[in-house]
Point group: C2
Amino acid sequence: MRSIYEAELSQLGEDLATMARQVQSAIERATEALLTNNAELAQAVIADDAKLDELETRVDERCVLLIAQQQPVGLDLRTIIVSLRISAGLERMGDLSQHIAEAARRAYPESAIPTTHREIFEGMSTAAKDAAAQVITLIETRDLNVAAQIASDDDLLDNLHSEAYQRLLAKDYKGTAQETLDTALLARFFERFGDHAVGTSRRIVYLVTGDLNNSAAAI
Amino acid sequence: MRSIYEAELSQLGEDLATMARQVQSAIERATEALLTNNAELAQAVIADDAKLDELETRVDERCVLLIAQQQPVGLDLRTIIVSLRISAGLERMGDLSQHIAEAARRAYPESAIPTTHREIFEGMSTAAKDAAAQVITLIETRDLNVAAQIASDDDLLDNLHSEAYQRLLAKDYKGTAQETLDTALLARFFERFGDHAVGTSRRIVYLVTGDLNNSAAAI
């Protein structure tokens, strides 16, 4: 049985990496759809989100079965518990990519981003894509340096998020209510995307170190 | 050992109910702060969120220890896994209450809600308070009728959320960018609050029935 168990645990790690790659693809395409007003690409992101939801269910079922059948302890148990939380976070990152794509699709053929905010959203797109790439590396390597980098890079998304709101509230801002609404929500989606990347990094820190106190709200 | 184990499992249920009652208190006070421009009450909600975060950590630690020490199977295992997810959802509902309180505090002494949207936010406040009360009942009773009711009542929050956006985009809407920004985010916070209540109800359905397919994304 032990070899089947090890294969199952290894498959769990591969499923999470697959989910992370799908999240990366979703955020890359969603941000391109947003920045280039590409409704077809936006539609593809929206349609593909169901695959991520299925993968999440598969990971969760595998985790419950592994605990029930193998009664793991120690690192194996931590791996499974943390996998349950990571899959939920990745699924949510997929949802946020989908929301970004929905905003692009709704605004088409116009842009969902007012010209006042284009530069900010270009920055947020790059930061979100970087975060997704780092999450893949982190899941594959469990490198604590990558985890620290994700947490520190998130400041950029938080700052751009604040800047987006400040610019909405500037005296010379003349956008329509639709532009203000889109910008408010899109900036929040990007910020939340970064939060979930940080959440994943905290969970991996907990997995590697076993220290819940130094990885607040890790699991 | 068995009696200690049962006491631990029972304590887990009580901790979740305690979390749910704190969420109810948070959303009641946050919505009152929002509707009555009460900065002091808003501040209390914001300060109290740390208690909910601590409770989540306690629930999570108890779950991991229970699995490691008792190697539960069947319903006990499902209870623990589902508790992990429910605690995360409740913690998030607390965060959303905090965000609502932050909006009230920032706008003080003005209201964060434009007069065009007062009635909608009164409706959302009532719906969110009802959802929080139902979640407590559900955790305490595991009554599937309550779970179904939470899912069906969530339509009201979704509809009010849509109505809030439609009213922002109406031709005669003349709100400032600050009002539009606040309204967009607040409506989304209430909608997400309802989503997390529905998530909790799905997890309890999974717990009671063991059927993952009829309780989509339950765990």
